[in-house]
């Protein structure tokens, strides 16, 4: 169930007053009950899988936290959520790709694409579980009650579209009722609804022109700008509603966006776009691979790998990976610029507001061009890019 449905609003309307009327000790259980009911109504098939995975992650987390830090068990604990995610989300893509390559080699056999329905929120809840297992392994935190862990995983306002909340941030919160909490929450929900329903949903009309094969270069530019704004308002609108809804229950959820299109370089863009996902990849993939403390060629490889995974996380298709790699290249260019050119430019010029403004424009347009890879299939994206750059 997405956060813009009536059922979601109705659930908030009914359960928020009840939640605050209950004794403080019962509230967590009530919220867990509500989350499970909502998930059962919206996606009954997912509940069993979710419970099994939660039991697995909770117990493994405890063992890892109390254990001697053996990597074997830790590896196994990570394989299970990753495997579940891979099976549900990426099997059809894998089979389709195998079929494609077998066609190239003149093999006539064709594997049937398994009819797997992707469980809602799978990319989010598996990432929360992986994060939890890692913090347990690092002995940074552990859940002392299964129910509070299950609430963390199933907390319905953030279940389907994030943000990817972190356990140490979530678990220390003690919801306390106050008028400002409620009104901040309602205000945030209204802002989110406006972004999603008024701005994003209407911009689709222009953004959809990216799918058309017969548009001029300028036409594609307009469509790409519309798509850039549409995806931002859509996603940040969802995040606002999720954060605002969680606020109604007294929880402060991590922020996901901070004016990403007004950043002066691509690195800053990624620090302010889908913040909880970017920081997840940084903390759990980029830094373990060596981060920025390894030779330059390794940094390049690590960045490209992280961005490719970021791309494929967004959807099970190769054009998402291409989008990730495009941004990986952008980050590389930025790194080379920082290493080789930046120091030779006078500080006054660098700090001038004109350069600041131009940097924002260049970064924004780089991101806009990248959305073409995200929004369309490989061949269509090349056609559009060609038209946008007036090459074809």
């Amino acid at each position: 169930m997405t956060v813009t449905t009536w059922l979601f609003g109705f659930t908030l309307f009914i359960t928020v007053p009840l939640y605050w009327l209950l004794p403080a000790a019962w509230r967590q259980y009530f919220l867990l009950f509500v989350s499970l009911v909502v998930l059962t109504v919206a996606a009954p098939k997912i509940v069993f899988l979710l419970l099994c995975l939660s039991i697995f992650a909770y117990h493994l987390g405890k063992i890892l936290y109390n254990g001697t830090g053996k990597t074997g068990l830790f590896t196994i604990s990570l394989i299970v959520p990753v495997g579940v995610l891979a099976y549900y989300k990426y099997t059809p893509m894998l089979v389709d790709s195998l079929n494609y390559f077998s066609r190239l080699s003149n093999y006539t056999g064709k594997l049937a694409i398994p009819p797997i329905a992707v469980p809602i929120g799978i990319s989010f809840f598996t990432f929360k579980m992986l994060h939890y297992l890692i913090v347990c392994h690092k002995k940074e935190a552990v859940a002392h009650s299964f129910w509070s862990f299950l609430l963390y995983i199933t907390f319905f306002p953030i279940f389907t579209s994030g943000p990817i909340e972190r356990w140490p941030h979530f678990s220390v919160q003690v919801p306390v009722f106050s008028g400002s909490t409620l009104f901040t929450g309602i205000g945030r929900i209204l802002v989110g609804l406006f972004k999603k329903k008024v701005l994003a949903d209407n911009l689709v009309i222009f953004a959809n022109m990216l799918q058309s094969p017969t548009v001029s270069g300028w036409g594609y530019w307009i469509a790409a700008y519309a798509y850039a704004m549409q995806i931002y308002f859509d996603f940040s609108g969802y995040s606002d509603i999720a954060i605002g809804s969680a606020r109604l229950y007294g929880y402060e959820i991590m922020e996901n966006f901070n004016w990403p299109y007004l950043q002066r370089n691509i690195s800053q863009f990624w620090k302010n776009w889908h913040i909880t996902l970017t920081s997840w990849f940084k903390d759990y993939i980029f830094i373990p691979l060596g981060g920025s403390r390894v030779p330059l060629y390794r940094i390049i490889l690590n960045t490209l790998a992280v961005m490719a995974v970021t791309g494929i996380w967004h959807g099970a298709a190769w054009h998402f990976m291409l989008w990730g790699l495009y941004h990986g290249c952008g980050l590389m260019i930025w790194r080379f610029y920082s290493l080789l050119i930046k120091d030779s430019i006078s500080e006054r010029w660098q700090k001038s507001r004109i350069v600041h403004a131009l940097s924002i424009i260049i970064t924004f347009n780089f991101v806009v061009l990248g959305w073409v890879f995200f929004a369309t299939e490989f061949s269509q994206s090349l056609h559009i890019i060609g038209k946008m750059l007036f090459i074809i």
Partner: protein, 393 residues
């Protein structure tokens, strides 16, 4: 110098954007709610809601004056809700722009005059006529519209069959009506014709809550009507206009001219260029069973039978004088096809009447659209036919 000025403007704009554009800051500030603001917003919504309810009740005294403000699902849903809630003898006029009545005000349409005539003929009955026609809504769209009426207790359906739609190559253009009432919508029947309908969130509870809110909250029910009142069109339609301005400006200009001139009688306009391009003659239509429009027409007939609705079908009158002037009317083909259409239309169920030649040329704005006096004349004829056939009991 000029360059520097331009850059400094740009710089100011971007720096202020980074801090938050004034309008966005204000918006953010507006939703920075406290108790007083929250209560104020609720109060304002409450007052506006009462005003809209009051306005709606005034309109409902003569419901035929209500036209669909837009063809978006929520506009259709709003009018459908009124049809469902009204009592008396409920007649729904289905059809395209001819029924909608773009050549005049909302009190100059066929349904409005029909309501007046029928109220005169049947003063003891509380006749309520609803205008459920919309611009560009052909036979297939009319089927979707009829589908939304399945649980509304409609007493009679009056369908203006514009045979021009039988020449449309695509099966359907607008599918908004399919979003309105999915519980009673005959989705499988439409999809069996190869038509892809918009996906709908399939959580039943969500639909029940949505229906409940629509029924009880006038402000929400009329949201696209309000937008249309403010902007002239709904926001979505405005944006569609914008899209055509960018991507197909020539067609947009043509449309603009068409809707500007629709109030002028046809004989004051020059159609020679349009007719020169068109080699086809009126009357050349395909009633072949493979024609998707014929299939949709059959679905309409089946639905009428299934729901045991009283129906009255008539063919949209044509401006034969104009067609004759430009030598674009094949009378013998038209006669043959009308006879065939009559057989297909199961006249015993639909009370089908061919009104192709019902009105002389002076009543038309173009080849099909009637001017307000024409709407009145046609409504008088329809009321006479309906009463002669004894369809209002």
């Amino acid at each position: 110098m000029r360059n520097n000025k331009w850059l400094s403007h740009l710089e100011t704009a971007i720096v202020s954007a980074k801090k938050g554009l004034p309008i966005l800051s204000q918006l953010k500030n507006l939703f920075n709610l406290n108790f007083t603001r929250f209560v104020l917003i609720i109060l304002i919504l409450f007052v506006v809601d009462i005003y809209i309810k009051n306005y709606e009740s005034r309109l409902l005294a003569e419901p035929a004056q209500m036209r669909l403000a837009t063809h978006e699902a929520d506009s259709i849903q709003a009018l459908r809700q009124h049809i469902k809630e009204m009592d008396g003898f409920k007649i729904v006029c289905l059809g395209d722009s001819v029924v909608y009545g773009p050549t005049g005000g909302s009190r100059e349409t066929i349904p409005f005059f029909l309501e007046k005539e029928l109220r005169k003929k049947y003063p003891e009955k509380k006749i309520n006529v609803f205008n459920f026609g919309y611009k560009g809504y052909g036979i297939s769209e009319s089927f979707l519209m009829l589908n939304t009426l399945r649980d509304t207790g409609v007493d009679m359906v009056v369908f203006g069959v514009n045979t021009s739609w039988l020449r449309r190559p695509q099966a359907i253009e607008y599918t908004n009506a399919a979003k309105v009432n999915p519980d009673v919508f005959q989705k499988s029947k439409v999809e069996s014709l190869g038509v892809v309908l918009p996906a709908k969130d399939d959580i039943r509870w969500d639909r029940y809550i949505s229906d409940f809110v629509t029924q009880n909250w006038a402000l929400y029910r009329n949201r696209s009507n309000i937008a249309a009142a403010i902007l002239g069109k709904s926001l979505g339609e405005k944006l569609y206009d914008g899209k055509y301005i960018v991507y197909d400006p020539i067609s947009y200009q043509k449309q603009l001219i068409y809707w500007r001139d629709v109030f002028i009688p046809w004989y004051k306009k020059d159609y020679s260029k349009d007719f020169k391009k068109n080699t086809r003659k009126f009357g050349w239509i395909s009633l072949d069973a493979k024609n998707p429009q014929v299939k949709f027409y059959q679905l309409i007939l089946d639905l009428i039978k299934e729901e045991k609705m009283t129906a009255f079908f008539y063919t949209t009158p044509i401006n034969y004088e104009m067609f004759d002037k430009y030598n674009k009317l094949d009378r013998s083909s038209l006669a043959k096809n009308m006879a065939k259409l009559q057989t297909i239309s199961r006249p015993e169920e639909t009370n089908f009447v061919d009104l192709s030649y019902a009105l002389p040329g002076k009543y038309y704005s173009d080849s099909l659209h009637l001017l307000p006096p024409g709407n009145k004349q046609l409504a008088v004829r329809l009321a006479t036919e309906i009463s002669q056939k004894g369809l209002i009991k």
